[in-house]
């Protein structure tokens, strides 16, 4: 039936096929390692990317928000959680007067539950094109002229093409630009100028009433830029000292980023530990299996030698067997990881609640190659160990033992 030549590869395949359970177990272990490696590294790279993006796009050094809403503004920035909190417009000028502050710009947040197709909470951010320094710099990457009334810029996760109209509270806006993916709350935000946002609040009054509708002088936050060379924390402290009694609280961007980066470090730490444990486990198991295999197959290997196989041929056989197992396991594991990490990336980023931005294709390709190599190292180590053991195999002794 089968006239295939008995090459080293074919003998290795026959050996593996006759030991189905051992082979399956080893493949599963290799797959688990490769899965964790790829999924873990894509995850931590995406988080790393998200953090970098966050610190690049923060713009402001300090965010001034009403008392009790320090956490909300972070939620809005990191996760796009719609938030509504307000204080008096005058805060902008007050903060501008604090020493060390060079730029201030007010922002107004509105939340909506009313979008064209699917009910999904969208954060509306009204900003002042005249004074803004936090949003305009990177909005302008996709926008030629400053935003005027009735125009909006939408985050990358929102549906709608440029030129299309979008309705909020029954008022329609023209989309003039889309932002590229940021991995942060901006992805689900809609940007418009401050006046439009205030008008919109008026409209929303009919839909349920809005504090901004009753008092047109409300804003949600003040973006603050501090003079270079000054300690941001000292300036933030000054603002707090001066206006804390008026219900103004501050969020220092540096602190926020370092908070994110420390929780990120915790997560990547877990991932790294998991990978290390699995890797060591795989090396250990493969070494033990190789040792046991060679011991229990001494007869078989002696027989090969009697029939005229060189030591090199036996080493190649061992190498072939463990390479096949690792290769199948690694490819299966990496495939499984790719099928989880990429299709479910939005779900994962929502679950993590941290800025999450997938690396670019070349970086991903590099990750794939690296994971592939690292997953195959245990098999190589086991093969080298096996080769050494086979080199030490004493023929006459095994023949004697067999008697």
């Amino acid at each position: 039936m089968n006239d295939k030549p008995l090459s080293t590869l074919n003998i290795a395949l026959l050996n593996l096929r006759r030991k189905v359970f051992r082979t399956m177990g080893l493949v599963l272990l290799a797959a688990l390692l490769a899965f964790t490696l790829l999924a873990g590294s894509v995850l931590s790279q995406s988080l790393d990317n998200g953090l970098n993006n966050l610190s690049q796009r923060m713009g402001a050094d300090i965010l001034a928000v009403p008392y009790g809403y320090e956490a909300n503004v972070q939620g809005a920035l990191l996760r796009g959680e719609p938030s509504t909190f307000y204080f008096d417009e005058l805060t902008t000028e007050r903060i501008a007067a604090v020493g060390g502050v060079i730029d201030v710009s007010p922002q107004l947040y509105l939340a909506t539950l009313d979008s064209s197709c699917c009910a999904y909470p969208v954060q509306l951010i009204g900003f002042d094109p005249q004074t803004d320094f936090a949003i305009t710099p990177w909005v302008s990457q996709t926008l030629d002229a400053p935003l005027t009334a009735g125009q909006i810029v939408i985050g990358s996760s929102l549906s709608g093409e440029v030129g299309q109209k979008l309705e909020f509270f029954n008022k329609s806006f023209v989309i003039v630009a889309r932002l590229e993916k940021t991995g942060m709350g901006f992805d689900t935000s809609v940007f418009m100028d401050l006046d439009s946002a205030r008008q919109l609040a008026q409209y929303s009054k009919r839909a349920g009433g809005h504090p901004v509708a009753d008092n047109a002088n409300l804003i949600s936050s003040v973006m603050v830029r501090v003079q270079d060379g000054l300690n941001t924390k000292d300036v933030a402290n000054d603002i707090l000292q001066s206006y804390g009694k008026d219900g103004v609280r501050v969020v220092v961007a540096e602190d926020m980023i370092s908070d994110v980066s420390s929780s990120l470090r915790g997560l990547t730490g877990y991932i790294l530990v998991l990978i290390a444990i699995l890797w060591i486990l795989t090396v250990g198991v493969l070494l033990i299996v190789t040792a046991v295999t060679i011991n229990s197959r001494r007869r078989e290997f002696s027989l090969f030698r009697v029939l005229g196989a060189t030591k090199g041929k036996l080493m190649r056989l061992i190498l072939c067997e463990s390479s096949i197992v690792s290769l199948i396991g690694t490819v299966a594991g990496m495939l499984a990881a790719a099928l989880v990490v990429f299709p479910f990336s939005t779900f994962i980023s929502m679950q993590l609640g941290l800025p999450y931005l997938q690396p670019s294709l070349p970086v991903l390709a590099l990750l794939f190659v690296l994971c592939f190599i690292i997953s195959l190292v245990p098999a190589c180590l086991a093969s080298i160990y096996g080769a050494v053991r086979i080199g030490k195999l004493e023929l006459s002794r095994t023949i004697k033992e067999a008697e």
Binding site: C118, Y120, S157, T188
Partner: protein, 164 residues
């Protein structure tokens, strides 16, 4: 014999998974749209989910049929049809019915990725199964032909022998 069952079992399990995703594991968005008349209707993603439940059930049934039939070509035929069902399962949420527009909605973050991955696996498994079965069938036919020709020569020899 054992390996003959593997594709059928895998397809049954994947089909059941496609049924369970919209039904239990990752349901589609539950919010309903208010119509002008004041009533409520489910969103598109809900119908996509419904369709996937049906497709998954059909795929699981095809897997059972593959387990039930023995001839290689019959099983290969079922595999091809099941692969096409898998393609339909991919097209439903992407092109034919679709779901919510926001990529942040449940259907786009969980339900659809899960059914698309499962359906892609079904397509891959079915195509491989069909190819393997078609090839093994061809090999059997070649063998049968060879046997037939050797039989003929033997018959001829037998005939000449009788003549002597």
């Amino acid at each position: 014999m054992g390996s003959r069952m593997v594709p059928g079992i895998v397809i049954v399990l994947l089909g059941l998974f496609v049924v369970l995703v919209p039904a239990v594991i990752f349901p589609t968005c539950e919010t309903q749209i208010e119509t002008a008349a004041g009533g409520t209707v489910p969103m598109r993603c809900f119908w996509s989910g419904r369709a996937e439940i049906g497709i998954g059930a059909l795929i699981a049934a095809s897997g059972l049929l593959m387990l039930a039939f023995r001839p290689a070509l019959v099983r290969a035929g079922i595999a091809v049809a099941t692969a096409l069902l898998g393609v339909l399962g991919i097209l439903i949420p992407t092109v034919l019915i679709g779901g919510c527009e926001s990529p942040m909605m449940d259907c786009n973050t969980t339900t659809f990725p899960a059914v698309i991955v499962a359906n892609s696996l079904i397509v891959v498994v079915c195509v491989i199964t069909a190819l393997v079965l078609a090839r093994s069938d061809r090999r059997l036919q070649v063998q049968a032909q060879q046997q037939a020709t050797t039989n003929v020569t033997l018959d001829e020899r037998g005939a000449t022998h009788i003549e002597h």
